[in-house]
Symmetry: C2
């Protein structure tokens, strides 16, 4: 079985890139099975329905990403009495880049799926994530609070979602953004470069004081 990837994997690979590119609704099973070079009926045989295929695609990424992130965060919290916000956000870099190895463009696809899962009708993601990875989410807030103890849990809640929005939108449209950067500024930047570019922005937002400051 070294020869070729099995049908189930081929479907997952094709589905994830098409979902990320066109969204869930605009990606038909015919499109998926054609790209995967498998029979149309095999999706329902292996996954039961399109809905369950969507879940499987998202789950495959989360299963790789979440444990890696959890490791990094617990290590950071164990080692540093008061980590910097940059340290906390930098903990996301390796787990995100690890997705590149699982599938081509894995990092970008993962972020696009995150964004679509939040907005598209199929917003099961929030529920799925919190029930399956509640511990990791708790560790994220724990690390951020160690880095910035002045944050109230309310403020942390809001800023976490501001952060998520920036990250999802930026990485999700990274293809277009990198193209523009190349055309307008002759700037070559890859996914890792983009991640490292957005992190200071995120850290700054998480760090700012609530009061109206003079700038």
């Amino acid at each position: 079985m070294v020869s070729k990837l099995d049908t189930k994997t081929r479907i997952l690979d094709a589905a994830e890139s098409l979902f990320a590119e066109h969204g869930f609704s605009d990606t038909s099973l015919r499109l998926i099975t054609t790209r995967a070079s498998v029979n149309l009926a095999s999706v329902n045989y292996h996954f039961g329905s399109k809905k369950e295929l969507i879940q499987a695609v998202i789950a495959r990424h989360l299963e790789l990403f979440m444990p890696l992130l959890n490791e990094k965060l617990t290590a950071l919290c164990a080692q540093a009495e008061k980590p910097s916000l940059l340290d906390v956000f930098n903990s996301f870099v390796d787990p995100l880049l690890a997705l590149e190895q699982q599938s081509k463009n894995g990092t970008v696809i993962f972020m696009q799926l995150l964004g679509r899962s939040y907005t598209d009708e199929q917003g099961h993601l929030r529920w799925y994530t919190t029930t399956h990875y509640g511990e990791v989410l708790a560790n994220i807030t724990k690390a951020l609070l160690k880095a910035n103890p002045a944050l109230s849990s309310q403020e942390l809640f809001w800023r976490l979602h501001f952060t998520l929005g920036t990250a999802v939108f930026t990485m999700g449209s990274s293809g277009a953004l990198m193209d523009i950067a190349k055309a307008d500024f002759n700037q070559d930047i890859d996914v890792e470069g983009l991640i490292r570019k957005v992190i200071p922005y995120l850290a700054s937002g998480m760090n700012t004081s609530t009061e109206t400051t003079s700038m």
Copy 2:
């Protein structure tokens, strides 16, 4: 003609809220016409196609929002030699809130449409906006550069998109976020409150220096 809104407006009103809620693809013409209490065929009579209806919905918001924003920005640039970043971002508040008067939940719907226009396959928006409102976009960058002259045009490009991501995501999912805030923190916040809460975050990100800083 004081009695009832005309068919065309009824369709636009129904379509915009459904598009914002379910996305373009997941909203059928049948759903729209049912909610608008008009005949199915009237969409094609008045707009030609679903695609053109989508454009019309977006255009109606932009036509109200963009001139208002332009006024604020030019006034700010004329009046202040070096406006603060908070001043620049505060210029968006009134134009955004003006959308509330055009249609119920207009502000949130507008931001949701912005987000969907960027991600959904129907990403004509970037083209439409730049060709129709290039002057306003230029004034946005002009104001930001006056407020933070240290920004290179490259950095400004990236941070503008970080900003857009935060705003679109936050406002677009504001319904869910406000519900959670109420349930978890007993915090009552409305759309204007949310806008005012995100602005310091945006200003901070736009202000931060590129260098790795100690935090």
